[in-house]
C-alpha cells in the first residue's frame, strides 16, 4: 500500500500535503474525538483533510522547503476542522430533531461526559463560546492568539472569555468540592 501510495501521488503538491498531514492529522483526530461521537469522527476527519488538500495554498506557515512548525499550521487547521464539525453537527441535529419528533428520545451524552459529570455540569453552565475557548486552552493547549485564529474572535475577546470561563468553572468546581450534591448548575450565576 505504501509504495503504491508514493507512486500514485508523487508530485510536489502531494508531498507537501503528505508532510502537512503527518503533522496535523493526529492533533485533528484528537480535536474531533473530544467533540464528536466516535462513529462520526472518521468522516469529519476525512472531510477536514479534503478541505486542507484543496486549500493547501492557503495554509499559513507552509512553504516548500522549510520544515513544518506545528504551532504555525495547527490553529488554522483546527479552524477548518471546527467548520467541518459544525457542519456535521448541524446535519446531525436536523436528523435528531426528526427522530425526536418521532420518539421523544433523550439526546445521548457527549464524549467523556459520563466519567466526569461534575466537570461537564460546570462546563455546561458556560456560554458556548466561553466553553469552546476554555477547552481549546486546556485540551489543545493553545494560547489566546492561536485560539483567536481558530475561532475568528479577536485575541482580546479570547482573553476576556478565557478569563471569565476559568473563573466561573473554578468557582463551580470548588462549590461541588465543598460538598454540595446534585447538579444545580444554575448556582454559579452569582459568580459573574
Amino acid at each position: 500500500m505504501e509504495s503504491m501510495l508514493r507512486g500514485k501521488f508523487a508530485g510536489p503538491r502531494e508531498a507537501r500535503f503528505e508532510a502537512l498531514a503527518g503533522v496535523v492529522a493526529r492533533p485533528l483526530l484528537r480535536y474531533l474525538s473530544r467533540r464528536a461521537d466516535t462513529d462520526a469522527v472518521d468522516d469529519i476527519l476525512a472531510e477536514t483533510m479534503l478541505v486542507l488538500w484543496r486549500r493547501l495554498d492557503d495554509v499559513p506557515g507552509l512553504s516548500d522547503d522549510a520544515p513544518i512548525d506545528p504551532d504555525e499550521v495547527l490553529p488554522w487547521c483546527y479552524g477548518v476542522a471546527r467548520g467541518c464539525l459544525a457542519n456535521a453537527q448541524r446535519a446531525h441535529t436536523r436528523r435528531l430533531r426528526l427522530v425526536d419528533r418521532l420518539t421523544r428520545s433523550v439526546p445521548p451524552a457527549g464524549p467523556g461526559e459520563a466519567e466526569h459529570p461534575e466537570l461537564h455540569a460546570a462546563l455546561g453552565a458556560l456560554p458556548i463560546a466561553d466553553r469552546e475557548v476554555l477547552l481549546l486552552w486546556a485540551w489543545e493547549g493553545l494560547a489566546p492568539r492561536e485560539i483567536a485564529q481558530v475561532t475568528g474572535l479577536t485575541s482580546n475577546a479570547v482573553s476576556i472569555r478565557l478569563h471569565r470561563a476559568k473563573r466561573k468553572t473554578a468557582a463551580l468546581l470548588e462549590r461541588k468540592n465543598d460538598g454540595q450534591p446534585g447538579h444545580e448548575t444554575g448556582n454559579g450565576r452569582s459568580n459573574r
Partner: protein, 205 residues
Amino acid sequence: MNDDELLARLRIADPARNHAAAPLDLDHLLEETMTADTASRTTISAPGRQRHRPLLMAAAAAVIVAGIGLPWAITQTGDGNRPPVAAVPLALTVQQQTGAGGVQTACAEVDVNTLRQYSTAFQGTVTSVNGDQVNLRVDHWYRGGNAATVQLSDNHDGQPEFAGQTYETGHSYLIYAKDGQIPSCLFDAEATPQLRSLYDQAYTG
C-alpha cells in the same frame, strides 16, 4: 483553585486522553483524500454528469420564484446591456444534506470549476436579518438572475447562521446557488477581493 489546578482538572477529563488514542491510518487517509478529490475533479470535467452532491433535488425546489425563473436563464447572454431588474425578490434556501458524499464535497473549498456548475451567482449586501431569513440587495449579478433583492431562508435549521456563514447587516457576500438552493456548506462567503476574482474567473470570459 488556580489556573494550574484548573488545567490539571480539565486535562484529566480530556476524552482524547481517557480513551485509548484512536487508531489513525495516515496512508489510508492520504490516499482516500487525494483519490476522492481526483475522482470528483474528473467528474466535474465530464460534461453532462453531476458530482455526488445531492443537487438533483431540483424537483423539490419549488422555492424558485414563481414567474421569474425563466428570464434568469435567458438574460445571461446580454453582455453590454444590463438585464431588466425584476421587482420580485429571488428566494433561495439552503440545500439539505443527504448522504455522506454530499457532506464531503459540499464542504470543500470552492474553486472555479465548482462555481461554473452553479446557475445562479451574485454579490449582495445584507439589508436585514430576521431569524431564519436574510434579505440581500443585489450589487452585481454574475449569472442567472435579474432580481434586485434576494431572500435567503434556512427552513431546516432555525439558526442565525446559514451554510456555515453568519450574515451581518451592511456586509457584502458572494453567493452561488442552483435550483433555488445554496450549498449546505458555503464557508467564507464574505466578499473579499480574492473571492471576487474567483467569481470573475468563473463567470466571465
